[in-house]
Every structure is written in structure tokens, then in C-alpha cells.
């Protein structure tokens, strides 16, 4: 499935739902704050290390789908985090207007004293359709686009925000690798530096 059929739809998502398959209520700033706050002390993991781990996973276990999740998976799972859906143009890192509000909500949350001064990863994920290295690169560009919008247009201090693309290396629902639930932007709190 070479042609990263990243989806047959016009707009591909890199994002997804707020908490499983429960009926979605409207996303709020406080929901993001509540999920992200309360980080333990400093976490010993850099964005570069995480990015590298994903690339190595593809090199070490080539194939259409990753046979196993990242070695760092457990560590990541233990951190304060939140998943949002952000829609992008097809095959592009351009955020679509319908997702401006979501990016604004992230800015609202990160600008509160509850989260200021803590370090966050903005992690892009795709589903498992298409080539893994392609997915990884696209998700990385999309995570960077979200970071850029936050740092420039919304003036979130850039020294605390790091973009990472994990492609399909860290599926949310490994039993259903092509499911929409896997497409998401994940915010992870790495705590105070």
C-alpha cells in the first residue's frame, strides 16, 4: 500500500477524539488543563530521543506495520497527557480553519499559570495506512505546524514546546491499526526543566 492512502477523504486527520469513543462533548480549555497539570518532577527524556526512537523502530523492524510499540511506550504512558483532533489539508501540514479553535484552546491552556513554565511535547500520530516512514515525516511536519502556530500567532513561549512525529509507531488502538482513533495530536507534559 505504497500510496499512503492516508485516507480517502479530502482532509486527513492527524488527530482524534478526546477520550476513547465516548460521545464527544465540546472540548474546553479546562479539560486540557486538568489532563495536563500535576506533572511530577523533571522527566528524563528529550524530544530528539523520542524522535530517534521512532526512526529506529522503523529501521530495526521494517515492514508494513510496526511489530511492536516503542521501547519508550511505558514511560510515555505514565506522563500527564491529552489527545486532540486537529484536521489538516490532505497530504499537508496546513491546519484547516475548522481546527483553529482547537489550536486556540491549546494556547489558552498553555498560557495559564497552571501549565506555564513546564515543558510539553506536541506529538503527531497517524493511523497505519501507508508507508511508515512517510507517515512519520508527515506527522512530524504536522506537529511542527501546531507548534509554530502556538509559538508565533499565539505567543506561547517556544523554549517549552517541542514537536515530535511518531507516525504509526505508537498506535492508540493497535488492534485496529487503521482506525481513526489512531490519528491524533498528543500533548505530553514533561514537567519543569
Amino acid at each position: 500500500m505504497k500510496n499512503f492512502a492516508l485516507a480517502g477523504v479530502a482532509a486527513v486527520f492527524l488527530g482524534l477524539s478526546v477520550s476513547g469513543g465516548i460521545a464527544q462533548t465540546k472540548l474546553s480549555r479546562n479539560e486540557i488543563i486538568n489532563s495536563l497539570q500535576g506533572a511530577q518532577q523533571k522527566v528524563d527524556l528529550t524530544a530528539d530521543e523520542l524522535q530517534k526512537a521512532a526512526i529506529e523502530n522503523i529501521e530495526k523492524y521494517p515492514g508494513a506495520n510496526a511489530p511492536q510499540s516503542l521501547p519508550l511506550a511505558d514511560k510515555l504512558a505514565s506522563l500527564r497527557q491529552f489527545n486532540v483532533e486537529i484536521t489538516f489539508d490532505f497530504d499537508s501540514a496546513r491546519i484547516r480553519p475548522e481546527s483553529y479553535e482547537t489550536v486556540g484552546l491549546i494556547a489558552d491552556a498553555l498560557h495559564t499559570p497552571y501549565l506555564q513554565g513546564q515543558t510539553f511535547f506536541i506529538v503527531g500520530h497517524t493511523d497505519a495506512k501507508g508507508a511508515r516512514d512517510y507517515n512519520l515525516e508527515l506527522s512530524r511536519k504536522r506537529a511542527q505546524a501546531v507548534r509554530e502556530a502556538l509559538v508565533t500567532t499565539f505567543r506561547v513561549p517556544g523554549e517549552y514546546l517541542f514537536a515530535v512525529g511518531l507516525g504509526e509507531e505508537q498506535l492508540r488502538d493497535p488492534a485496529n491499526p487503521d482506525a481513526a482513533v489512531n490519528r491524533r495530536v498528543q500533548l505530553i507534559n514533561l514537567g519543569y526543566k
Binding site: 480549555r29 497539570q37 500535576g38 501540514a93 496546513r94 491546519i95 480553519p97 475548522e98 483553529y100 479553535e101 482547537t102 489550536v103 486556540g104 484552546l105 494556547a107 489558552d108 498560557h111 495559564t112 499559570p113 497552571y114 501549565l115 506555564q116 513554565g117 513546564q118 505546524a145 509554530e148 502556530a149 509559538v151 508565533t152 500567532t153 499565539f154 505567543r155 506561547v156 513561549p157 519543569y192
Partner: protein, 139 residues
């Protein structure tokens, strides 16, 4: 960042504190106006512009002659709403400094502890500080 009460954004904005009584809106509420009022124009004229670096509002300004009247009016509003909220958030720690010292003695700064304390002490906190918290969207 220890000593910063609110750990506010690295002093970018000229602190044009909004006039007393003025209101500010959050970033999400501001930017969604852009999607609502300019969504069509964005897709028509700004297909390659991005949200970063105010790229969308700049592109819309460049295509001013073509975009809808409502969009032209609102794109300017959106920019000022974002600036006002940023300014209010930069001001809040300064305007609440005295109250924080008075009512939040011994509260460890960071992770919103001071803000939580000020919110709890709201009935005693100065009007100046309470207003600043409102304008910053911190309540």
C-alpha cells in the same frame, strides 16, 4: 522562573493594559472568529498560507480587495483580541503582586499555586487584582 508569580510570557508585548472595565476573550474564541468569518476566503485566496506567524491574517490583508466585507472587518478584530488577551496576561502578575504577598504568604510559586490562592481569597483580594485575573482569563 521561581520568582515569577504567574510565570508570564517572556515580555513581548508593550503592556497596553486594557482600559478598566474592558473585556478580553480567549485565544480560541478569538481565532474561531477568523474561521467563521473568513473560512471561505481562506480557502479561496490563502490555500498556501498557514496559521503560524499570523500567515492567514496577513494573506487576507493582501487580498483585501477580494475578501468579503465581514472578513475584512473581523480579521482586524481577531488580531487585536489576541493582543489584548496577551497584554492582560502579562499584566496580571504585576497587578496582583501586592495581593499575592499579602494573602498568599508561604505559598510556593509555580504550577498555578499563587493563582489558586488568589482565587480562593477573591473576596479579600483588591479589585485591581481581581479585574486583572478576569481580563487574563484566569478565573
Amino acid at each position: 522562573m521561581r520568582h515569577l508569580i504567574f510565570a508570564f510570557t517572556t515580555g513581548v508585548l508593550l503592556a497596553a493594559a486594557p482600559a478598566a472595565g474592558a473585556q478580553t476573550v480567549g485565544f480560541a474564541d478569538a481565532i474561531k472568529i477568523l474561521a467563521a468569518s473568513c473560512g471561505k476566503d481562506i480557502e479561496s485566496y490563502c490555500k498556501s498560507a498557514t496559521l503560524a506567524n499570523n500567515g492567514i491574517t496577513q494573506c487576507l490583508a493582501q487580498n483585501e480587495a477580494k475578501v468579503s466585507q465581514k472578513c475584512n472587518a473581523d480579521r482586524v478584530v481577531v488580531i487585536s483580541l489576541i493582543q489584548e488577551r496577551l497584554a492582560a496576561q502579562a499584566e496580571a502578575p504585576k497587578l496582583c503582586n501586592r495581593d499575592a504577598q499579602q494573602y498568599c504568604k508561604g505559598v510556593q510559586p509555580g504550577a498555578g499555586h499563587i493563582l489558586r490562592c488568589l482565587l480562593k481569597a477573591a473576596p479579600s483580594v483588591s479589585k485591581k487584582c481581581n479585574t486583572a485575573i478576569d481580563l487574563a482569563g484566569y478565573r
